[in-house]
């Protein structure tokens, strides 16, 4: 079984005992974390282990003349050295997510060309890390530097340096890696009939995941069994195993991936990286365990980043405030290479239209290569970028029409009479409380009273978004997670899952589900460490899929295990299974919760007293269940229901701007969310707080600063301005208005990313309210703020758009002046097929 029939939320099978789902059970993870006994990747030490480091390019774009590794071999302690040329034809390039490696743009090392600063040139393994570093320094590198291209719009110009030379893309010559378009409704008609059309060019920043736990791995190849074991700090066991085995061209039975404690990923560890191949190769060549943990500057330069975008966005609004259309041309910077980058613009745009059921949507996107760090997924997956543009346009249109931004949003957010409701973009909203969230959030920030009595240099801003809960990505026709449960012979339960917990509290959350479903004490339930040798296949932990998708698989496996336990008990007690219930670690006859048989006895019966089992009973007390969401693939017009359900977020920011230094302080911040049925409020609250924090960094401080040569100037935590605790407001105005999902059996919705989506836009709108300046670029640094304030004074204007409309632009642009998609004519595409999008489908 791969898909559960939709069912309504209701009480689980266990009818007695306190239910743990819905309560703030203290996290099982915390003891090890707080006492320092949790083991992260750099804590792993194996007998005979040696250390590898990677020599990375210090220039962004260059032709490789030669890389001579011979001098490194002479360095004391050096055991082996690798560079690109010798691997050509021996390891397979990769570039897609799991299977069908269509785009072979990734290779362990640069061979003919360097495409970004930090790309791997060679690697050295030695007895100590320092010897390996010495070895790297001895490698003789001869590069012919080429012009860099940092700006994604520059990359589109016909005279731009070509980044990927060897790969012939669908769209011909040039740096366009992929194109994307949405054609829903008729934007031209919406534009014609609108009371106002607001337009603005917006840009967004490249943001780092900045997980404190570094990327890294330990590879250990056993020459006798031929099994390569890889411990890695990753978000996905099977993505790493399957791609690694394919790259090395060895059977998947010979690759075992295990994951220690992971100190967060945020999307930045959701793929296989070159260092994992390099460590594996060294271990296979030496027959010794090899550790390769990246330094912070390596993670900045060669990890994945939030894709930066340039958006030429337009929004059409009727006189009554109804949003009638949205058009956008997005130049999406996916860096020099990317396995996930193009997916970000697809899903970020599709879901980014929510929570408005906009009838006419017209989007084109050029997904381009630049000589910068690879783009990829990062908390929010394209939605914060879309919402940054769209939610500011909503405010701009409301102001032009003299309407209250709150009232305009209340008028437009999806609030159907009946569920499920299919939006024009194709999303099937199975439940939502987004309108109530919006109202509650405005009340929490005291919207009406504060706006009636404005304070100089202070302002309020609103933004709303919805976030997908798991997702069928355009290049992954699967949305699968699985759980295997085993009732051990002492009545304890082990959960096996390959979906890595990197902050999502799986050990607690899944144990709550099992404890409720099986009537077993939560202290008896354990989550096994992720291990491809023992855990069933699942996609991994990203896309806010843990609670809903993995949680559902866990729930189904629990129900199956309960059925088996009841069957044994019914046989022993000579009653029907329907007369039995579970709770307090036992199975008992309904109404007699103080009697019954302990799970321990039943489990031991299955193992050691098989004569007492029912006839034809399969003795194993292991059950497996999978859950694959009932989601759709993207249609040719860009529409589709890509997510199983949608969580809602309504945010209100209160900011203060220091007109003398330009510092923007978030004085207060209200967040009201619809996360459906919350399994553990403590965990979900923490997810929202963390999500806000990353959104705040995107809004106010974080960015990859490159010089014109593609050299990153802030590749350290000293210079990269990640948000820290002192800058964060008291996040006390947080609440949930649960609208349980009707598709997910337990009613859960994704929690991990909904805190991020609205933040930059809410802060941007508040900054406008405080200063009269509409920021069109992220982040809104003190430098940009103060420069804009002075410019506004100099020109004596009430409002200013900065920096995009500097210095001469004053009114809305004519869309004719805006660039068109360059790589091919937008409407030239012949799609081979056309989905019939019946609006009733899925209803």
């Amino acid at each position: 079984m791969t898909e559960a029939p939709p069912r309504t939320a209701g009480p689980g099978p266990a009818a007695t005992g306190p239910r743990l789902v819905g309560t703030s059970v203290p996290r099982k993870e915390d003891l090890a974390l707080l006492t320092g006994t949790a083991r992260f990747i750099d804590d792993i030490r194996l007998p005979g282990m040696v250390h590898a480091t990677i020599l990375r390019s210090t220039v962004a774009h260059a032709r490789v003349r030669s890389i001579d590794t011979a001098p490194a071999r002479a360095v004391p302690g050096v055991l082996d050295v690798l560079a690109g040329a010798e691997l050509v034809g021996k390891v397979k390039p990769w570039g897609d997510l799991m299977q069908d490696l269509l785009v072979g743009d990734h290779f362990p090392f640069a061979t003919d060309k360097v495409l970004y600063e930090g790309q791997e040139l060679a690697a050295v393994v030695a007895g100590t890390r320092y010897q390996a570093l010495d070895g790297c320094e001895a490698v003789a590198v001869d590069l012919e530097e080429l012009p860099a291209v940092v700006d994604p719009e520059q990359a589109l110009r016909p005279d731009a340096p070509l980044v990927q030379e060897r790969i012939v893309y669908e769209f011909g010559e040039g740096n366009v890696f992929d194109r994307y378009r949405v054609r829903v409704g008729d934007f031209a008609a919406a534009e014609r009939d609108a009371a106002v059309v607001v337009r603005q060019r917006f840009t967004t920043n490249k943001q780092a995941g900045a997980a404190l736990d570094p990327h890294g791995c330990v590879a250990s190849h056993d020459p006798f069994t031929g099994v390569l074991t890889l411990w890695s700090s990753t978000q996905s066991v099977y993505m790493v195993r399957d791609v690694l085995a394919d790259v090395l061209q060895i059977p998947r039975t010979k690759v075992r991936v295990m994951v220690p404690e992971v100190g967060a990923g945020f999307g930045s560890k959701a793929q296989m990286f070159g260092h994992e191949v390099i460590a594996a190769l060294f271990s296979m060549r030496l027959g010794r365990p090899v550790k390769l943990v990246l330094r912070r500057d390596e993670i900045f330069r060669a990890g994945t980043t939030r894709n930066s975008q340039v958006r030429y966005a337009e929004l059409a609004m009727a006189a009554d405030g109804e949003i009638t259309g949205y058009r956008d041309y997005v130049v999406h910077n996916t860096g020099a290479m990317s396995v996930w980058g193009n997916q970000v613009v697809h899903i970020g745009t599709n879901v980014g239209m929510l929570p408005y059921p906009i009838p006419n949507v017209h989007v084109d996107s050029d997904i381009v290569h630049t000589t910068t760090a690879p783009g990829g997924p990062l908390r929010g997956f394209g939605i914060p970028q879309t919402v940054w543009a769209k939610e500011q346009l909503v405010d701009m249109a409301a102001r032009e029409l003299g309407l209250d931004p709150l009232a305009v949003r209340e008028r437009n957010v999806v609030d159907p009479a009946t569920f499920p409701y299919r939006t024009p973009m194709g999303q099937v909203i199975d439940s939502t409380s987004i309108k109530q969230c919006l109202t509650a959030c405005a009340e929490a920030i005291d919207w009406a009273a504060k706006r009636a009595a404005p304070v100089p240099h202070e302002g309020l801003g609103l933004a709303v978004s919805m976030k997908y809960t798991s997702c069928r990505h355009p290049s992954l026709d699967t949305d699968l997670s699985a759980v295997r449960l085993r009732l051990e012979t002492d009545g304890t339960v082990t959960i096996y899952s390959s979906d890595v917990s990197h902050g999502q509290s799986h050990a607690t959350m899944l144990s709550q589900i099992v404890a409720d479903g099986l009537g077993v004490g939560i202290e008896k339930v354990t989550l096994a460490p992720p291990d491809s040798m023992t855990a069933p296949f699942g996609l991994g932990t990203y896309a806010s899929r843990g609670a809903a998708v993995l949680g559902t698989a866990c729930r189904l496996a629990t129900e199956r295990l309960r059925d088996k336990v009841l069957a044994i008990a019914a046989h022993v007690l000579e009653v029907g299974p329907g007369d039995l219930d579970t709770g307090n670690d036992r199975v008992f006859v309904k109404g007699l919760p103080d009697s019954g048989i302990y799970l321990e006895i039943l489990a031991a019966t299955a193992a050691y007293r098989t004569h007492q089992l029912p006839p034809d009973f399969e003795p194993t007390l292991e059950t497996v269940a999978t859950y694959d969401t009932p989601t759709e693939r993207e249609a040719s017009d860009g529409s589709g229901n890509l997510s199983v359900t949608y969580s809602g977020a309504a945010h209100a920011a209160h900011v203060r701007v220091d007109p003398e230094t330009g510092r923007v302080t978030v004085v207060d911040y209200a967040m009201v969310h619809d996360t459906g049925t919350v399994i553990n409020p403590l965990v979900v609250e923490g997810q929202h707080q963390g999500g806000f924090l990353m959104g705040m960094g995107m809004a106010l401080s974080e960015d990859y600063v490159y010089d014109e040569n593609g050299h990153q100037l802030n590749a350290s935590f000293k210079d990269y301005l990640a948000v820290t605790a002192p800058e964060v407001p008291e996040l006390t105005r947080m609440s949930e208005i649960p609208a349980p999902s009707t598709t997910i059996p337990g009613g859960q919705k994704g929690a991990g990313e909904s805190g991020t989506g609205p933040v930059p836009a809410a802060i941007g709108n508040a900054v406008l309210d405080a200063t009269g300046i509409r920021f069109t670029a992220l982040p809104i640094t003190p430098q940009r703020m103060l420069t804009a304030l002075r410019e506004k004074e100099r020109r004596g204007v009430e409002t200013l758009r900065y920096p995009d409309d500097m210095p001469d632009f004053t009114g809305p642009r004519c869309p004719d002046e805006w660039p068109s998609p360059t790589a091919a004519e937008a409407d030239d595409f012949d799609f081979d097929f056309d989905f019939d999008l019946d609006p009733e489908e899925g209803a």
Binding site: Y130, E660, S701, P782, L786
Partner: protein, 291 residues
């Protein structure tokens, strides 16, 4: 990091001898809060580290007979924050305040006044305060002892007027009567970040207001920069807000000429100089008015 030899002299004379013996690869290390980071990055690779931790008399603060404050180069920031008003009286207390409001706690626990001065980082606070109050630096070396003004000691990022075989032994703040009010202001992104711009304003009272003023700007230029032209505008009656603003504008123009129309980064620093000079002067003048 590369391999190095750790040396622990007991006196400055021994330290100087070791620096000479192991030149050119030897480096002094005090708290190591800048050097160790550079060594980890392999942007610095000394063959020998001469530790000042065991050098007698290099850490600690005392008031000399003439009333000047002698701050041993190996005195940590944290040690300065623990001194009370008898040890750091009057405007000398600004040093304790500055030491308590930079970097983060681990850095303050290990980092030293001498390290701050000798690293030559234009964004560090202590050099801007030292130059701002017209302090002097005591240096010992093979050629004997010398004293130099703190102003001019830093010569650019990473560059200070210290020879490879010399040791900075003390920062000497002038006696308290030298100034009647000192204010230090800075702006940084996060609480533990180095300042983007910092300003020291020192005022000496006269019969009818300000007899002498000294303004020093850090961060905006490669080394702490005095702005005597702007400071001269403050001499006379206690400045009113307009006079303060005029001095601030003049200071910005003196440090970064044409900055108001330069690129965004320079323009921003130009603005910050205005803001911080205004704040520092306003605060110092208020102190003066009270005293």
């Amino acid at each position: 990091m590369r391999a190095f030899t750790w040396l622990e002299p007991g006196t400055t004379t021994d330290a100087v001898a070791l620096l000479r013996e192991h030149a050119p690869g030897a480096r002094l290390i005090a708290g190591g809060q800048s050097l160790l980071l550079a060594m980890k990055d392999r942007t610095a690779g000394p063959t020998h580290l001469v530790s000042l931790a065991g050098v007698e008399g290099l850490a600690g603060v005392r008031t000399a007979d003439d009333g000047s404050l002698v701050v041993g180069a190996a005195t940590t920031y944290t040690a300065l924050t623990r001194l009370d008003a008898t040890a750091l009286g009057g405007w000398h207390g600004v040093l304790g305040a500055v030491a308590g409001d930079l970097a983060d706690r681990p850095v303050r626990n290990r980092g030293t006044v001498g390290g701050s001065l000798c690293t030559g980082d234009p964004r560090y606070d202590v050099p801007v305060l030292a130059a701002g109050v017209d302090a002097t630096l005591r240096i010992t070396g093979a050629g004997g002892d010398r004293e130099v003004p703190a102003t001019g000691f830093a010569q650019g990022p990473g560059l200070v007027a210290l020879r490879p075989d010399e040791v900075l032994t003390a920062l000497v703040l002038p006696p308290r009567p030298r100034w009647d009010a000192v204010a230090f202001e800075k702006f940084r992104h996060r609480v533990f970040d180095a300042a983007i711009v910092s300003v020291t304003c020192a005022l000496r009272a006269g019969a009818d207001g300000v007899a002498e003023a000294r303004l020093t700007v850090g961060g905006a230029t490669p080394a702490p920069t005095p702005v005597p032209g702007a400071a001269a505008r403050l001499v006379g009656p206690l400045p009113d807000p307009d006079a303060v603003a005029a001095a601030a504008d003049a200071a910005a123009e003196e440090v970064l000429p044409g900055g108001a129309t330069a690129g965004e980064a320079v323009r921003y620093r130009h603005e910050l100089v205005r803001t911080l000079v205004r704040r520092a002067v306003t605060r110092a003048a208020a102190d003066l008015r009270r005293s």
